[in-house]
Structure formats: C-alpha cells, structure tokens
Amino acid sequence: MMDKITKEQIKKLADSMYLSLTDKEIDELFAEFPSFLHKIELINEVGGVDECNEMIFPFEEQFGTLHEDREGEILTKKEVLKLAPKTKADQISLPKVVK
C-alpha cells in the first residue's frame, strides 16, 4: 500500500488507462492525491473492516437468472456501421493493429 504516489506512477496509471495527461493535469492529480489517500485512511478506521466479507450487491438474498438460449432482436448491418466512425468492407476500420 502506497503512502504517497509519485508523478511517475500517476503517468503509468494513466498509460494503462489509455489516457495521456498534460503536465498540468499530472501536477493537479499529484496535488489532489493525498486527499484521496486520506479518504482511504478514513475507510481503514471503520471497526472490523478487515474482518468481514466484501459486499458486492445491495441485496444478498437476490440471485440472478439463467436465460433461455433463444434469439432476440438484432441490429441491422446498416445500423452497426452507421454508429462507427470509420468503416470499410462492412467492417469497422482501424489502422493496422500490431499484436
């Protein structure tokens, strides 16, 4: 667990989220980060907070359902392509992606 964060680490986090921050943005976030870490500290002060299970959903007695394997309404090819910024040969186009 980090007590602080470095600007380098902020940049790395941003890269992993495909965000490129300006120096100003990195500085701002760097200045605000202690406030975020402080929030985490407040959570840490809750009694017994590490002695129970995580709560993921509000109602733990609510369960999901399995859905029948049958077809629903699909989009037309025209609708799909209309949404895309760039298409070619009925597909969505990008500059060549390297693995």
């Binding site: 965000l19 959570i43 809750v46 709560m55 969505i92 500059p95």
Partner: protein, 477 residues
C-alpha cells in the same frame, strides 16, 4: 394558463375535462424551453413530440400519464436521439435502442420533449462538468449557485419548471440532493425496482433509476408506471409492484422515525436545523415517533470515501468502452493506441480522467485489497448498521443537504462536513428507497428533507413523505 406549473394529476384533469390538448401543452412548453437560459437541455425531441401529440388520439381518463410531457437525463438511451451523457466523446452518439423506462412511458403515451444536461457520465455533484458548461439553479438570479448533480438538467427543468417530471439517475445522491437545491421532489426507489436497461452504467451496484416531480403523489404515479421486472435487466426486482398511488394517500400508521444524530450535528446552517426541528414536531403531531439515534463516527466519516472508492473503481471499467473505435467520436491517429489515447484524453473532462485514475489505482493489484476490497467491506459495515436500525425504525429522516445550493466555487474539504454533505449515499449502499421533498426556504432558496426506508417498502416511504408534504404545504413551505 401556466401549464408548466401543473402537476401530472392537475394536467391530467385538464385533459379529461378537455380544457386543453397535449398538443397545446407540448407546443407551449417547447416555447418555454427554447427561451430558457439555465442551460439544462441537451438534444431536443421537439419534432417527435409534436408528432406524438398530434397523433395521440382520444384521452384515456384512467391513464394519468396520457399526454404528459417530460424530459430525460442524457445518460438514458433514447432511440434515434443523441444520447451523450453530457460528454464530448458521445456528442454524436445516436442510440439505436430505447431504455426500458422510455419504452414504458411511450407505451402509455407520455410525451418526451428532450434530454437534459448532467455531470459528465454521472460523475459529479455540482452540475458543472457537462460538455456544454454549467447548468444554473433557476431559483438563483445571480447565476452563481449550483443546481447540484449529477442530474442537474433534469432537476433544473422541474425547478423552473418547464415539465411536470424528468427522469434521472442516482448513484450517490444525484437525484435526491439536487431536489433539495431546487425545492422539488426527488425520488430514488429500491435498487432494481426500475429497470436499468438503457441507463448508462456508472457503478452498477449503486446505480438507480429515478426521477424528479413536483408532488409526492406524482412520484407514486410514476413508480406504478415504471416499476417491475424487466428481462433485459436481470438485476431488476421481481418484487410485486404495489398500487403505490393508492397507498400513498391512504395510510395512517404510526411510524418509528430515526434521525441520525451524527449527521444532524454536522450541519452548520442553524436556520436549516431550526426548520428541520420544527418539521420533527410536525411529524410528532401527526402521530409518529421521532428519535435521535447514534451512529459511530468512524462509520459516518467512511460514507463518502466508501462511495468514492467503489464508484471510481467501477467507473474506470464502465468507461473503458469509450475508445472511439466503433461508436461515438473518434479523433484521428496513426495507430490504434494513438486513436484511443487521443480520443479519451481530449474528449473526457478532467473530472472523468481523475476518477478513472483513482479507480484504476483502487483496482490495481498492489492496492486492491486495501482500497477497493476494503471499501466493499466498509459498505457491508455501514449497511449492517443501517439494517439493524431498520429493525426498530421505519425510516431515517434527515436534511437532504447541509444548506441551500452552494456557490459553484464553494468548497469544503472537512471530513465532518462531508458527513452532512454525502450521507444520502447510504441509500445507494443498501439499495433503500429514498425520497427528498421540500422543507422550506432560507433566504429565498429551498432546502429539502429526506426519508429513507427499507428495501421495497416504497409505499410507506411515499406515504410518510406525502403526509409531511401536505402539512408543510398547508403551512406555506
């Protein structure tokens, strides 16, 4: 006639008595909206609305939503209408499908007039991060005070007012706090009570669909129309849909009401405290029991942090689809990486980027247990405490916000202030039905109160709110 001031019920009565037609009302309201300067509109649906109004047919006296115009927060999918979530990255995105809420309202002939502004992707509480700029609180002539958020546009539209109701969403307090700033009703029913199909996911385990109205009874009507299991949203509830409007005005139960002392004590506005205490007396006169209860300060101070960590974490994942590849705006680049990075970096606002990074931090391997997972455990602690309260009490009753609408640049970093400012998130943790109604005015600006109840007990939450609303209206709130 000022149709904009009418509730759903009042407008319906005019329709039934043939005093006015939906077309008259729609045309009238469209003109009002066009003239409005509070910046609450995104895409409008005026053409379609007029068409719908023209072809609506015979009035249905048993359908109270027949011909009723409304607005929609821009994170709710509307078919063939730009749905941008007030973000530049979706400024050209036309949804190919309708949210279930919209489908239901169209089916009963309510008339959508357009989309409203919001804090981008529902992240924010000030109404300042929309790609179109600030949304102003219509009650503040100086245009320096916020409407709150993230449902700023829908709140403003019902505050002016220009419509009797507007759809919205609430993940931490995004309906119930702006309602306080606007002096209107803001309702968030139980988690899954209204289908989230079509509501952009922000933090799904805390996301709720809801709305603003100008009366509690209208809120009950809308709930009847919108509640129910939807097979397109498997998290929606199979609980029976009550006759909420019938139950709203009917009950005379003696309720047990809890006021959490730690939250009340952290309100600094003495005038608000005074108004609130007077309202407690009113509730007692009505026959209800109101008691102050203790809640550990550690739990109280953890409310906002818990909300913030969980929502940023989930949001960092729920915004990963905005990449300019197959929908939305794409900024050009020579490679996939360039395109995605440029698109996201330049088209997300600073607020979104920050929250994405807080979220990424919270979920990263090194931090996950002590950040994200711990926040989820903290959520459990808070919910367990509140559930215990609900074994004895029917509602939690509190001021919805620490004071009147703050100025846009007002900022209070104090941990204790945050308690009074963010306690409404409790209802998102536990999925509790929660309603804000107007309490009164301080220096000409409204303040509201909030009732939060047990899961799926919307009927009594609406009932107690209705009872208080009637009393306060009589006393000239």
């Amino acid at each position: 006639m000022k149709y904009e001031l009418l509730t759903i019920v009042e407008l319906h009565n005019l329709y039934v008595s043939k005093k006015v037609t939906p077309l008259d009302v729609v045309e009238y309201l469209i003109e009002l909206i066009k003239k409005d300067k509070h910046n609450f509109m995104e895409a409008n649906m005026f053409e379609e609305a007029i068409k719908l109004a023209k072809n609506i047919g015979e009035v249905d006296k048993d359908n109270l939503l027949w011909g009723i115009p409304f607005l929609i927060k821009d994170n709710i999918a509307t078919k063939e209408v730009i749905t941008s979530a007030s973000s530049k990255i979706l400024s050209n995105y036309i949804s190919p499908f309708d949210a279930t809420m919209i489908k239901k309202l169209k089916a009963i002939k309510a008339i959508p007039l357009g989309k409203t502004t919001m804090d981008e992707f529902a992240m924010g509480g000030k109404g300042t991060t929309s790609h179109n700029g600030f949304t102003y609180n219509p009650l503040d002539k100086t245009k320096t005070k916020m409407m709150g958020g993230s449902s700023s546009g829908s709140a403003a539209a019902v505050t002016v007012p220009v419509v009797p109701f507007a759809l919205a969403s609430d993940t931490g307090d995004s309906i119930r706090k702006p309602a306080s700033y606007g002096g209107i009703v803001g309702f968030k029913p139980s988690w899954g009570r209204i289908s989230r199909y079509g509501l952009f996911s922000f933090a799904p385990s805390m996301d709720h669909a809801g709305y603003f109205t100008r009366s509690v009874f209208d809120a009950a009507l809308l709930l009847e129309a919108l509640a129910g299991y939807d097979e397109n949203d498997p998290t929606s509830s199979t609980h029976v849909v009550d006759k909420y409007s019938k139950n709203t005005a009917n009950s005379t139960s003696n309720y047990q009401i809890a006021v959490i002392k730690g939250i009340f004590d952290n309100i600094l506005d003495e005038k608000l405290k005074s108004l609130f205490s007077k309202s407690i007396e009113e509730l007692k006169i009505l026959g209800h029991k109101v008691e102050f209860v203790e809640m550990p300060i550690t739990l109280l101070r953890a409310i906002f942090p818990t909300y913030f960590v969980i929502s940023c974490a989930e949001a960092s994942s729920n915004t990963a689809c905005y990449d300019g590849v197959n929908f939305g705006v794409r900024l050009e680049g020579n490679t996939y990486e360039e395109i995605v990075t440029k698109t996201r970096s330049e088209l997300f606002s600073a607020q979104i980027k920050k929250r994405i990074l807080y979220g990424a931090y919270a979920l990263s391997k090194d931090n996950k247990d002590e950040t994200y997972l711990r926040a989820q455990r903290s959520r459990r602690k808070i919910v367990e405490f509140i559930n215990k309260l609900f074994e004895k009490y029917d509602f939690i009753y509190l001021p919805a916000a620490p004071s009147v609408a703050p100025k846009f640049n007002e900022y209070n970093n104090d941990d204790n202030f945050a308690i009074a400012d963010n306690h409404l998130a409790i209802a998102n943790f536990g999925g509790y039905p929660s309603i804000t109604i107007p309490l009164g005015k301080i220096n000409g600006l409204p303040v509201g109160v909030n009732f939060t109840g047990r899961p799926f007990e919307e009927s009594i939450v609406l009932n107690i709110a209705y009872q208080l609303e009637q009393i306060l209206e009589k006393k000239g709130a």
